[in-house]
């Protein structure tokens, strides 16, 4: 199997600029990426290094591009725009934000189109064959916690999108570069000094955004679906000791609904599916301020010592 890191950087760039683009397998999807922007090409080469490059006759799920919009404006205020199927679903962003735009665009491709899965805005990790769902809106500390856990032995399925297979109730991995924002970047750098950021952009609408690559085992195991075992609603609270509290399942259920992208597309099927997820899962709310402490708490949770976790 050919992976991107086996191609030279020139070859990668050449493919990205070509008519057929660079075709990468990312979990259940194949994306065909086209761009002429060298900063985007460098980030793709570094952050998707371990991903399989698929052959010319593979079925392509998403054909996407990142390019400069036409017009004179690019000489005074460089911009980048994301294209999907000939549409441009977003407003252009400032010129240095091509890679984050590609990532947000690829996420959009999945949650706006892939109704074969019930999709939650959530991080998903796995340990011992059991999956942890961290549903949360932005700013809850979900990404920081997710990054901490994947440097402490948990397998990453996704840091943004939980894909639930309606036939099996299992979570489908969609490992992609993990994004961190603002203070979280240094927090994770202190916790896991080995982390290598492949893209860093200042002054986005979300502040500073940096991406690091999904760990190799997450990419290798992207066919291994996982049964949900825990739903935990994380919340960062400055100065707060790590506290795990049992949460009423009805409240947990409503959190899943509120963080679902396509619950209305699933209708009654979605109600039953999320109901079965909640039936199977232990449900907690979790407050934390320090990553090492949080990671310990989740290790104990995975070892079946949840009862001792300050309930």
């Amino acid at each position: 199997m050919l992976t991107l890191d086996q191609l030279s950087y020139d070859d990668t760039r050449h493919r990205l600029q070509g008519r057929d683009g660079l075709r990468l397998r990312m979990g259940p999807f194949v994306a065909q990426i086209r761009t002429r922007l060298s900063n985007v090409a460098r980030s793709v080469a570094s952050l998707y290094a371990g991903y399989p490059v698929v052959d010319d006759d593979a079925f392509v799920d998403f054909q996407v591009s990142v390019r400069k919009p036409a017009g004179l404006r690019q000489w005074t205020h460089p911009q980048v725009t994301f294209g999907f199927d000939g549409q441009e679903p977003f407003n252009p962003l400032p010129g240095d934000q091509g890679f984050p735009l590609l990532e947000w665009g690829l996420n959009w491709c999945v949650y706006a189109n892939c109704h074969q899965y019930l999709i939650l805005h959530a991080a998903v990790l796995e340990r011992g064959g059991r999956a942890l769902i961290l549903p949360a809106p932005s700013g809850s500390g979900k990404s920081t916690l997710c990054a901490g856990l994947l440097f402490a032995g948990w397998r990453l399925l996704s840091d943004e999108l939980a894909l639930i297979c309606p036939d099996t109730g299992r979570l489908v991995p969609h490992p992609r570069p993990v994004s961190l924002k603002n203070d979280s970047i240094d927090v994770i750098r202190r916790f896991a000094p080995q982390v290598r950021f492949g893209s860093r952009v200042e002054e986005t609408v979300k502040g500073v955004v940096a991406h690091f690559a999904a760990p190799p085992d997450a990419i290798l195991k992207s066919n291994e679906h996982a049964m949900p075992a825990w739903v935990v609603l994380p919340k960062y609270s400055a100065g707060c000791p790590a506290t795990l509290q049992a949460l009423d399942k009805a409240k947990g259920f409503m959190q899943l609904v509120q963080n679902a992208f396509n619950y209305e597309v699933f209708g009654i099927e979605g109600f039953r599916l999320l109901g079965s997820v909640m039936d199977r899962c232990a449900c907690f709310s979790f407050e934390y301020s320090r990553v090492p402490e949080a990671v310990d708490m989740f290790a104990r949770l995975a070892d079946g010592q949840a009862a001792a976790c300050g309930r």
Binding site: A58, F59, V60, Q63, G86, N113, H115, Q116, V265, F266
Partner: protein, 366 residues
């Protein structure tokens, strides 16, 4: 210059030929079909076979699920509308997508819907609007000019959106603008409308009128972004209604009575040419008599051939931009008399329609 393949047209015309396609061609078909709003339709089960590659199955499932969800939503909204308009005591005719779903007609399948189109007699328009407002549907275009544009000149009110569920209703009182060159008498449409069993108060247009409305909507329009989808709807309606022997003569008769022979000509001609719709030679010959005169006909034909395609850059033929622009101008030209059109386009171009806010009550801040 050769034209690029329009894979959606190929898939609609001859679904049995898809089995030998390469993965690359399937990927391109799915991209084009998504742009045309027809992914669900090109992946309808073809004689119980599923010729697409396994890797594409997810998109097929997604399109099917989205289609079902939209049908469920339309049925649910119709119940809300039914109760909102229960005391109207006037016929309510469902048009386009809502009619296809409620009457369970073939174009309901595999199609993306946007809003619900209703038609009530003009005398009942104000009462219908206030009843829908009481039930939560609010007008969306707030500038004074836009309000006047719809209320004085158009065939429908400004779209009404539900405050909680975000669903949109277009409330019509006829099928073409009041200022249009063609003005079919809406009373004739109401007279022939067919009651929907199980939905007291709701009707759909009779088969001939439904086809004529669909053709009129497409061939008088200025916006071609759904042209192929609309043509496919026409194709499916014609194939379905043709099972009744009396349909074709009735279609010709109604077109004459409603003065819609030109849209009928375009509809039959292009459905047959693009999608291979079987049209009896007698019906086609009769419609030909309303074709545009000799110098215009080949020009219009060249324009329509470029518009009635998948709206995706991979399927874009040479001069497509010019054809779409010509149809944009034509749609406006047909819709309004020249003086009014000049005024309307000037106001739109200068952005004045946005500036003139509808009068607010005096105590509203700002």
């Amino acid at each position: 210059m050769t034209w690029p393949d329009d894979l959606v047209v190929e898939a609609l015309r001859a679904p049995q030929t898809l089995a030998g396609w390469s993965n690359a061609r399937w990927s391109a078909l799915f991209r084009q079909a998504r742009a045309a709003g027809l992914l669900g339709r090109v992946t309808r089960p073809v004689e119980a076979a599923s010729p697409w590659p396994n890797a594409a199955q997810g998109h097929v499932d997604a399109a099917r699920r989205l289609g079902l969800a939209q049908q469920t939503e339309i049925r649910r909204e119709l119940k809300f509308i039914e109760s909102a308009l229960a005391d109207l005591h006037a016929p309510i005719v469902l048009l386009k997508g809502a009619a296809y779903v409620a009457a369970d007609l073939p174009p309901a399948q595999g199609r993306v819907f946007s809003d619900i189109d209703l038609m009530v007699p003009k005398a009942a328009l104000a009462r219908s609007e206030s009843s829908l407002m009481v039930a939560g549907w609010m007008t969306t275009h707030h500038s004074a000019y836009d309000q006047r544009y719809y209320r004085e000149w158009m065939h429908e009110l400004p779209p009404m959106q539900h405050v909680q569920r975000q669903t949109t209703i277009d409330l019509h009182h006829t099928i073409l603008p009041e200022t249009c060159r063609l003005r079919p008498d809406p009373r004739m449409l109401f007279d022939k409308a067919v009651a929907l069993p199980g939905h007291p108060g709701f009707h759909v247009l009779c088969p001939a009128d439904m086809v004529l409305h669909s053709m009129t909507h497409l061939f008088m329009n200025d916006d071609m972004s759904h042209a192929l989808r609309d043509l496919s709807d026409i194709d499916l309606l014609l194939r379905h209604f043709a099972l009744d022997a009396g349909f074709w003569p009735e279609l010709t008769t109604r077109a004459r009575a409603l003065n819609l022979q030109r849209p009928l000509f375009y509809g039959l001609h292009h459905a047959a040419a693009v999608l291979g719709t079987p049209v009896p030679s007698g019906a086609l010959a009769e419609a030909e008599r309303s074709a545009p005169p000799a110098p215009v006909r080949p020009l219009m034909n060249a324009i329509w051939r470029r518009a009635l395609r998948t709206p995706h850059h991979d399927a874009r033929p040479p001069l497509a931009g010019a054809a779409l622009f010509a149809l944009y101008l034509r749609g406006h030209w047909l819709r309004m008399p020249p003086a009014l059109l000049a005024r309307h386009l000037t106001i739109k171009a200068l952005g004045l329609h946005r500036r003139a806010e509808a009068p607010k009550s005096p105590d509203t801040p700002g």
